[in-house]
């Protein structure tokens, strides 16, 4: 009974959300129509997705999008085509909502693709053009990608002491074999529900290879946790799922990333949100996320050899300094020291470098010790 009720509630909330999204699209199109008929220049306001328009909300500990926006004009040689594309995609999304279906980014590219009447020109030259327009639409409409009925390709794996319901199918994440559960791009409650969770924390690792090491060693079983990976910079689906695990189930999130500017940046994205998706930080960022390692000091602490060193190049050094200057790292002593340590070392270290100690050093010694000592950056 209760279950049915939830389902009904979800369904109705989905319907409400769809109605809201549809309304936003109609408002946008009506504005263009009114401007056109009134002899004014048709424009679409597109909030700027750039660092200049990203605000660090210290209180919330997340990145947020500012008020900066650009006007996309029809009567501007450089924008005329993207204006047309924006209108095409708006119309396509309305179709999707009406038909209650979702499409991939590539699917959307094909949906909007045709030859402009009276010419030999295609509406979209390639999928990149289409993807850019969809990102613009997300921010212009203030709607999430899934609200627009669009999904990205899956990139992320999960395993652990949790049972979920994905689109009505119950999935026990303890019984996922060696491959794990592939995290879909839309993980909103109407798609994924948490049925039962015994895990006490989430360990997120940078990439699949490391994840496999942990999975093979049944780390999640021994330490009663959930093990995830995001294939480098985690996609939205993974970030949203981590956030939901953190927020709804109260699980702390620990990250095990490479000791290089890239790893630091991934942590920053998980924790505070990214510049390009600053408008979604509210529902993606995990301000409580913790950085477990690898630390610059581990080279000595773990007694690693010269062989694991990967020299920092100029780009890395530049990038590290940039990260050090991020407002959310700037006043953070631990992080300033960490980045300084990296630069002083003059080399990067991957998580896999711990394998030089022992195949299972990372799963049996490194992580358990850190967790026990609560030795992390936050």
């Amino acid at each position: 009974m209760a279950k049915q009720k939830t389902a009904a509630a979800t369904a109705s909330s989905k319907k409400d959300r769809d109605a809201a999204t549809e309304k936003k699209i109609v408002v946008l199109a009506t504005d263009v129509a009114k401007r056109s008929l009134g002899g004014r220049e048709p424009i679409v306001r597109v909030p700027t997705r750039a660092k200049s328009n990203t605000i660090w909300n210290k209180k919330k500990g997340i990145l947020q999008m500012g008020d900066g926006a650009q006007e996309r004009q029809l009567f501007n040689l450089g924008q005329a085509k993207s204006f047309m594309q924006t209108m095409l995609h708006s119309s396509s999304i309305k179709d999707l909502i009406g038909a209650e279906k979702t499409l991939s980014l590539r699917g959307m590219f094909y949906k909007g693709l045709h030859t402009v009447a009276g010419t030999k020109e295609k509406t979209f030259a390639d999928q990149d053009e289409s993807d850019g327009i969809l990102e613009d639409l997300e921010v212009s409409l203030g709607a999430l990608r899934e609200e627009l009925h669009i999904f990205a390709k899956k990139a992320g794996t999960m395993v652990g002491n949790i049972t979920i319901i994905d689109s009505g199918d119950e999935i026990d994440c303890r019984r996922m074999g060696s491959g794990g559960y592939a995290i879909p791009s839309i993980v909103e409650p109407d798609v994924i529900k948490f049925k039962k969770c015994d895990a006490k924390f989430v360990l997120h690792v940078e990439k699949n290879t490391v994840w496999s090491r942990f999975n093979e060693d049944r780390f999640w079983e021994k330490h009663n946790c959930i093990l995830t990976e995001g294939g480098g910079q985690p996609p939205r689906g993974v970030r949203r799922l981590l956030r939901r695990l953190n927020e709804e189930l109260g699980l702390p999130v620990y990250c095990l990333l490479d000791c290089d500017p890239w790893g630091h940046y991934i942590y920053s994205v998980i924790k505070q949100g990214s510049i390009s998706l600053a408008f979604e930080s509210e529902r993606l960022a995990i301000p409580e996320a913790k950085y477990l390692g690898i630390r610059a000091s581990d080279y000595r602490a773990c007694g690693l050899t010269d062989d694991v060193q990967i020299a920092l190049n100029d780009t890395d050094i530049k990038r590290a300094r940039e990260i050090a200057a991020y407002p959310w790292f700037e006043g953070h002593k631990g992080w300033q020291r960490e980045i300084e340590g990296l630069l002083n070392n003059g080399f990067k270290m991957e998580v896999e470098s711990l394998i030089t100690k022992d195949i299972s050093y990372v799963t049996e010694t490194y992580v358990p010790e850190r967790l026990k000592k609560k030795d992390w950056l936050d």
């Binding site: 699209i25 009567f75 708006s90 309305k94």
Partner: protein, 707 residues
């Protein structure tokens, strides 16, 4: 070849038996050569090299004389050129044929006693001995033509001349005796009619034109002269033809009206008529060149005669030593005992009393010294003094340039372009002789775009048709950097593009490279002025072309906007249900107003053109907006496929869409529905422009903006 030479060499040896000629026997054979005889043998020097050129030269000499005579008498020239084919039945392969060329003018006529001299003697005329700007210079032309006719056909020249209104006309036939350089009159009678009525009924075309009062109307010819010469010639159109000569003469003489009746049969390749046939009724009145029933009318473009030119004395720096000696001799003959002091002041320009006395001092003679007493060494000294003294340049009121406005009017009627510019330089001096250079260019319109520019050259309003590359003006065109004015120009050649370049040199003495007056000698001073004039025109063209380019860019911008408007209207319709057609039209309207520059020259009334081009320095610029439409529209107009509101876009190619665009289609731009380029409306517009060009005061040399 070598063998032949050997024989030739051997021949004298064989003849060596005969007594060699001695001074006595040679003296017996030595005698005067009459000028006529000389030229009869060397007719190529006068432009009678071949039958085709002979025909042209005959027409040219007669027309030059007619124009000079009319202008001197202050009459607006009305000239008919009639070429009759006397052997219409000849085989098609004939290289030449017998023609009768008749030129009739409304000039002052010729008094009876001068007829023989003017038409029957070479080197007889009023123009050789003076420094005054005129077409003819030596007095060879028309008599040489008559001589050529006599030699090739044995037929005398027929002359009708009416020197006084209301008085009888002299009908004279005369043949030149080449030995005596004198004419022999075969026929001399007084008749009533002038011009000869016979010509009005010559062809259906002449009849029709005469009926409208546009051909040899008696009242238009109160006085005048008609010359007919029968000759062995060839009539063929194209470069260097009678047609081209008249076309160019009409351009350089917009104050004259020409009617040309070509022969009924043209030798060899009969080209299609270049000129579009206008409605018959318009032929008599139109201000652009028209052709009706084979008769070509070059109408009058401006109503005022060129200003009368003054005769000047030579400038001291412009003469040679030999001439100075001759002048001294002549002065002594004319003014027995005249002083050198007076001689200098009277026989030269720009020599004042004080200059004269200081010149006398400089050669060490008293100012009272008689001109006849000056010895050659002293004369030589004087000549050197001339070269060293600082003298004002010769006066320039002896020159009658065509004028900016008149050049534009002339170009307008003869060249179908979209852009015309003209410039007139200040007078300058070469070798002590004043001259003035003018240039004009016509661009675009119906001119061929992928050929090298056509250069039309004039000296004292006479077109120069041959030896282009030997001409100073040609070199000036080649040396001008046309690339600076947005034209392409392969290194060391003429520019390429839809361009006609006109260069005119006005001078009291045009330095031709030969007696046949075909090319202007290459003096640095002259070439420099030519280049400056061309650069002035070029700058105007450059400004115009950049403007046009901007329009084209705006047109392309519009293109882009218009392309997407249909898609946007459909998308909005799918979202909001708004009427897509209304949105489409509203957006199209916006797109047009935002790219309005593209329309500026496309407007039918051309008003925007005026406003817009007023910003540029458009002195001496004439633009025919209608002529631009086809060219620019082709580049800018977006052929909008009629918006298919049912969803499916009509697969229409650009070209197809343009054809399909009809005025009623909401999307069809106004300009797409323009009539064919050479429509009646177009002709009318040209006529309007020509009228505008022809209006105004004679002094309008500043080339007031016409549009």
């Amino acid at each position: 070849m070598a063998a032949k030479e050997a024989v030739a060499m051997a021949e004298p040896k064989k003849k060596s038996v005969a007594p060699r000629a001695d001074a006595e026997s040679m003296a017996a054979r030595q005698r005067d050569i009459s000028v006529s005889e000389f030229f009869a043998k060397n007719r190529h020097l006068l432009g009678f090299d071949n039958p085709r050129k002979a025909m042209l030269t005959t027409v040219k000499e007669a027309v030059d004389n007619s124009l000079d005579a009319c202008e001197e008498a202050g009459i607006l020239p009305e000239i008919a050129v009639i070429v009759e084919d006397l052997e219409p039945g000849r085989p098609a392969t004939a290289k030449s044929s017998r023609y009768r060329v008749t030129i009739i003018d409304n000039g002052p006529g010729i008094v009876r006693k001068q007829v023989e001299n003017i038409f029957g003697r070479l080197l007889y005329g009023s123009k050789f001995h003076r420094l005054k700007m005129s077409r003819g210079q030596q007095g060879i032309g028309i008599s040489a033509a008559g001589m050529y006719g006599l030699i090739t056909t044995g037929r005398p020249m027929t002359i009708f001349t009416k020197p006084k209104a209301g008085q009888p006309t002299h009908h004279i036939e005369l043949a030149m005796n080449t030995k005596t350089n004198r004419a022999e009159v075969n026929f001399d009678k007084e008749v009533k009619e002038f011009p000869p009525k016979r010509f009005r009924d010559l062809t259906p075309g002449t009849r029709a034109l005469a009926e409208q009062g546009g051909f040899l109307t008696e009242s238009e010819f109160p006085t005048g002269t008609s010359v007919s010469i029968e000759l062995d010639g060839k009539y063929q159109r194209g470069r260097g033809s009678v047609d081209e000569f008249l076309e160019l003469t009409a351009i350089a003489n917009p104050h004259a009206r020409f009617v040309f009746v070509p022969p009924s049969r043209v030798t060899e390749d009969e080209e299609p008529d270049v000129l579009a046939a206008a409605e018959a009724g318009a032929a008599a009145k139109a201000t652009v060149t028209t052709e009706t029933n084979g008769v070509i009318v070059y109408p009058r473009g401006v109503q005022e005669l060129p200003p009368e030119t003054k005769e000047i004395q030579p400038h001291p720096k412009g003469i040679e030593l030999g001439i100075l000696l001759q002048m001294l001799k002549d002065y002594e003959l004319a003014e027995k005992g005249g002083t050198l002091y007076n001689f200098l002041q009277e026989r030269f320009c720009r020599v004042s009393a004080s200059t004269a006395s200081s010149m006398c001092d400089a050669i060490g003679v008293s100012s009272r010294a008689k001109a006849g007493d000056i010895e050659p060494p002293q004369a030589e000294k004087l000549y050197k003094v001339f070269q060293e003294s600082k003298l004002a340049p010769p006066p320039t009121d002896c020159l009658a340039p065509i004028g900016v406005r008149q050049m534009l009017a002339g170009m307008l009627k003869g060249v179908r372009a979209e852009f015309y510019a003209a410039s007139s330089r200040e007078a300058e001096v070469y070798r002590g002789r004043p001259f003035q250079i003018e240039a004009a260019i016509a661009f675009g319109g119906e001119l061929p775009g992928d050929e090298t520019a056509r250069v039309i050259r004039f000296a004292n309003r006479v077109p120069l048709l041959f030896q282009q590359s030997a001409c100073s003006s040609f070199k000036a065109v080649v040396e001008t950097a046309w690339k600076n004015y947005n034209l392409s120009q392969p290194r060391g050649t003429l520019p390429v593009g839809p361009l006609v370049i006109m260069i005119h040199m006005a001078s009291v003495w045009v330095p031709f490279t030969s007696e046949s007056k075909e090319a202007i000698a290459d003096y640095d001073e002259i070439r420099k002025e030519m280049k400056l004039a061309l650069m002035e025109c070029g700058r105007k063209l450059g400004t115009y072309l950049r403007k046009r380019q901007k329009m084209r860019r705006e047109g392309e911008r519009r293109d882009v906007f218009e392309r997407y408007i249909g898609e946007i209207a459909k998308a909005i319709n799918a979202i909001t249900g708004d009427d897509p057609k209304a949105i489409y039209e509203a957006l199209l309207k916006q797109a047009k107003s935002r790219t309005a520059v593209a329309d500026q020259l496309l407007d039918e009334d051309g008003k925007v053109v005026k406003e817009d081009l007023a910003e540029t320095d458009d002195e001496g610029v004439l633009i025919i907006p209608d002529a631009i439409a086809p060219a620019v529209a082709a580049a800018t107009s977006t052929p909008l496929a009629p918006l298919d509101l049912d969803g499916k876009a009509k697969a229409a190619s650009k070209r197809g869409a343009r054809k399909a665009a009809e005025p009623k289609a909401a999307a069809a731009p106004k300009r797409a529905a323009k009539p064919e380029p050479e429509s009646a409306a177009r002709t009318e517009l040209r006529a309007r422009a020509a009228k505008a060009a022809g209006r105004g005061k004679a002094g309008g040399e500043d080339g007031a903006r016409l549009f």
